[in-house]
């Protein structure tokens, strides 16, 4: 393994060991809470679209909204300052504090303040800064960085926090329980808030019409921070501005549910500073609040720091819609296992973190963790503002690829049939051009499989391509699906439909049997089947960030299928990740009409069988289950498309007893699990699925899975045979 890969693998291994359990328990809890909580909404999808539309509009009109906000803030008696960058913001905040002769600033949680590192700046000016959010305070005491954008100390267990406090504060009685730790922090921080000169908060949203800021919290520290001292500094990115108070409503309903799975957090503070509440001056403890002269000062510091450039960037703009709820972190299988210390950059972590880091810090910071997004797409339906997070990750990957200059460029350029410049790593190039490798593999099979399996070959593959030697390689079949299909004659008289079975690379070259089963099943249901010669979908290069190559595939695939579609034929796809290309990513590559045609004509194979049966096809033509117990793992992208249920329904209708896994992803994710730097993480993620299929209840069930990757992963983790669901239901012939 190369040194860089080895170092990355070691860091991931260490974080899995030290922080993985704590991060995993909490994020899985949040994620499960989200699924339950959003069910309480009458129209969850509608609310998300509403939230999305508000953000799209706000970012579109941002300069105008900021002008309006400046007027309202000033007429309310506050000050609005737009900071170009971190240094500018810090200087302004420091000057406000120095004007007040502030000795102590108390802060409520704010990621934006982490981004500009204002604490360090103020401390350098001898101003004491105290984080009052309990999680942030733990990190301040421990001198660590946040591992999650909402629950910053998620990586620390109760025991670790107790050890930290007992060591740092030496309390009379050692602290142990969460209750004791919380009450200790409440007391201590309460005193620090009482003596504070300036309160600093973030802002989740700011309304241009009234200058009202919304703070989403549960502890009450933000309330105290904003109300006790007479000076309030709020720090937020410029993207937080929305038009009106009423526009807050969808966000208030979505943010807690999406993030920590709470219907709503304890407090949504809607403050229009300077607020009318009396200041609480603990230096005059016996002066009634009614007799306290309240003269509040408010400074809203809006930070650009790259955001206006993101607004002009057609690919990164969506990032600005992010409301920092953390849904994309919690739903992410990789994040659940390593947390934000691996899956994060300078400030931001999780799926959307790449977009933020690329925008505010630069590509280098984003490149550190961008590869941990496998494109499984589970975050896209979790995101309350419908951001296509995997696409942002892909775009950033593409830019990172293009920014990198490899010493071996002269060697690989021209040898690979892709559209990419020299910067793409050999590893990414290999996986991105898998179609070529598969063609060669099948042509030379079984010699190619035998040669690839040799120790010396695996050693070379690991050294030059970063393919982990512990991972079994796919076995190329000498007779491809297309060869097999061409050597036989169709047996359907008077067909009800004609279907094009899309020969994806894996079905065509490796898992040929599932392709044959699909042909048999469709023909048994009265469908005339065609298996044409069409290029691979472009999923492989896309997942390596090779966008130009993926687009090239899209054009060829559409050209290869267009006449079939025009002739009224249905496109049936076995591999869910390829179907997801047709139904989702091709929108970025094809003219609108072309995208509509291919996405509407395409079906996942079990979805198609479901439709045939639903329209009267004879289920007796398929293999009945007769009560056979089946353990089913759907595919991440298939679930995102809402197609998990079709397989379950078909199997149930045929008399199978189905138990379905509920993990978000198998962890294999195409090439991800092959890469030596990620192999162990991939196996760790897969162990959850393994566990679910090894319980007493599921341990003897027949295993079926929809995706190639899922089958490969399961095959390495279970000792039972496994297959695609279509193989289970296809007539045996």
């Amino acid at each position: 393994m190369s040194k860089a890969r080895e170092a990355k693998a070691a860091k991931i291994r260490q974080l899995m060991e030290t922080e993985g359990d704590a991060v995993g328990t909490s994020t899985r809890g949040f994620n499960e809470g989200r699924y339950q909580s959003v069910q309480t909404l009458d129209d969850y999808e509608g609310l998300k679209s509403e939230a999305r539309a508000i953000k799209e509009d706000a970012i579109e009109r941002l300069p105008e909204l900021i002008d309006q906000l400046r007027e309202t803030v000033e007429s309310n008696g506050g000050t609005l300052y737009i900071a170009d960058d971190a240094a500018d913001a810090n200087q302004y905040i420091r000057e406000v504090c120095e004007d007040k002769e502030a000795e102590r600033v108390v802060k409520s949680k704010s990621m934006t303040s982490e981004e500009i590192e204002v604490n360090e700046d103020l401390e350098a000016a001898d101003i004491d800064v105290v984080e009052t959010d309990l999680g942030e305070w733990v990190l301040q005491v421990a001198d660590e960085s946040p591992s999650h954008i909402v629950a910053p100390a998620i990586h620390k267990s109760r025991e670790a926090i107790a050890d930290l406090f007992n060591e740092a504060f030496d309390p009379d009685e050692p602290l142990e329980t969460a209750e004791e730790l919380t009450m200790f922090a409440r007391e201590r921080l309460g005193e620090l808030i009482e003596g504070a000169d300036v309160g600093m908060t973030g802002a989740n949203f700011i309304t241009a019409d009234t200058g009202t800021m919304a703070l989403v919290t549960s502890e009450g520290n933000a309330r105290k921070t904003a109300v006790v001292p007479d000076t309030h500094v709020a720090v937020a990115g410029v993207e937080k501005v929305i038009p009106t108070v009423e526009d807050l409503r969808p966000f208030v309903e979505l943010i807690g549910k999406s993030g920590t799975g709470q219907d709503i957090t304890s407090y949504i503070s809607l403050l229009t500073p300077p607020v009318e509440s009396p200041t609480v001056d603990f230096d005059a403890p016996d002066t009634p609040l009614s007799a306290t002269e309240t003269d509040r000062d408010f400074h809203l510091v809006l930070i650009d720091n790259g955001r206006f450039d993101m607004r002009e960037d057609d690919q990164l703009r969506e990032t600005l819609y992010c409301i920092r709820c953390s849904a994309c972190s919690n739903v992410c299988a990789n994040f659940q296992h390593v947390g934000g210390h691996a899956f994060g950059g300078e400030t931001y972590s999780g799926g959307i973190g790449t977009g933020w880091e690329a925008g505010v810090e630069g590509l280098d910071s984003a490149a550190e963790f961008n590869d941990l997004c496998t494109g499984c797409s589970r975050c896209t339906t979790a995101c309350p503002v419908e951001i296509d997070i995997p696409w942002i990750n892909t775009v950033v990957r593409d830019r990172v690829n293009r920014g990198e200059v490899s010493e071996l460029d002269w060697l690989v350029e021209g040898l690979t049939p892709d559209e990419e410049p020299g910067g793409v790593s050999l590893q990414k190039r290999f996986f991105g051009n898998f179609e070529t490798a598969a063609k060669v593999g099948s042509f030379f099979a079984p010699v190619s499989n035998w040669a690839a399996g040799l120790d010396v070959s695996r050693d070379l593959m690991e050294r030059f391509l970063g393919i982990d030697a512990r991972r079994e390689l796919p076995e190329f079949q000498r007779e491809t699906l297309k060869d097999w299909f061409e050597s036989r004659t169709s047996r359907v008289d008077d067909p009800v439909r004609t279907a094009v079975l899309y020969p994806d690379v894996y079905t065509n070259h490796v898992q040929v049997e599932r392709g044959k089963a699909a042909v048999r099943a469709l023909e048994a249901l009265g469908v005339d089947v065609i298996v044409p010669d069409v290029r691979s979908s472009g999923r492989a290069p896309l997942s390596q960030g090779m966008i130009a190559t993926a687009e090239d595939h899209a054009h060829d695939v559409y050209a290869g299928l267009a006449e079939h579609i025009d002739d009224g034929r249905d496109i049936v796809v076995i591999e869910p990740s390829d179907l997801a290309m047709f139904r989702t990513e091709y929108e970025k590559f094809l003219p609108e009409k072309s995208f509509e045609r291919i996405s509407e004509a395409s079906y996942e194979v079990m979805e198609y069988v479901f439709g045939l049966l639903d329209n009267g096809a004879d289920a007796d033509a398929l293999s009945a289950g007769a009560g056979e117990e089946v353990a089913y793992h759907s595919h991440c992208q298939q679930r995102t498309l809402g197609l998990e249920g079709h397989t379950e329904a078909v199997l149930s209708d045929l008399g199978y007893d189905v138990a379905t896994s509920d993990v978000e992803c198998c962890g294999m994710a195409g090439s991800f699990g092959y890469k030596s730097e990620y192999y162990e993480l991939s196996v760790d993620v897969g162990s959850e699925l393994q566990g679910q299929f090894q319980t007493d209840e599921n341990g003897d069930r027949t295993v079926v899975a929809s995706g190639t990757s899922c089958l490969e992963q399961l095959d390495s983790l279970l000792s039972r045979p496994m297959q695609h669901p279509i193989q289970l239901v296809a007539p045996r012939r």
Partner: protein, 167 residues
């Protein structure tokens, strides 16, 4: 028995493990006496003919805030779907009084309970544009999970009780 929006509000409070009591204007003092222990601070209620009992300190100092066991304030609105009460940030100190005591008692007129967030934001938008510009949508007690398990009572009240004023 309550019906409609009020019943939904009560169900939500039940789910949050927040206590509630119905009271008539005349019966409020007795209800508060049963809920609060000394020292109790409060802010005069903005409802005609409804006064807080004498033993509630309605002119608290910072020291009183620090020592308070209970804080009694009005709530401008109840939101049935969520069991939330809207605590407005007024010059007479509703915000600090509702925040510092271990128990917050929110006194809410039955007629001020609305079904959900759409109605609440219609009301808030109007309030904010006509001069009552700050409010907290408070749902249950303050809480944190940052110390390894859910704990009620972080920086704010450990307990909330809603008194529904039946007029």
């Amino acid at each position: 028995m309550s019906t409609g929006t009020v019943a939904t509000f009560e169900d939500s409070l039940e789910r949050l493990e927040v206590g509630w009591t119905h009271a008539s204007p005349d019966g409020l003092a007795d209800v508060l006496e049963g809920l609060c222990s000394d020292p109790t601070i409060g802010v005069s209620l903005p409802y005609d003919g409804v006064d807080l009992p004498d033993w509630v300190n309605i002119d608290p100092t910072p020291a009183d805030l620090r020592e308070a066991n209970a804080g009694v304030t009005a709530a401008g609105l109840g939101i049935a779907d969520y069991g939330s009460v809207v605590v407005q940030g007024t010059p007479d100190g509703v915000e600090p009084v509702s925040l510092f005591g271990d128990l917050h008692v929110a006194v809410l007129r039955r007629s001020d309970i609305v079904p959900g967030m759409p109605e609440a934001f219609d009301w808030l938008g109007e309030e904010f544009r006509t001069g009552h510009p700050s409010a907290i949508i408070a749902t249950g007690p303050s809480a944190t999970a940052d110390m390894g398990a859910l704990v009620k009572g972080a920086h704010g009240p450990k307990e909330v009780h809603v008194v529904i004023l039946d007029e």
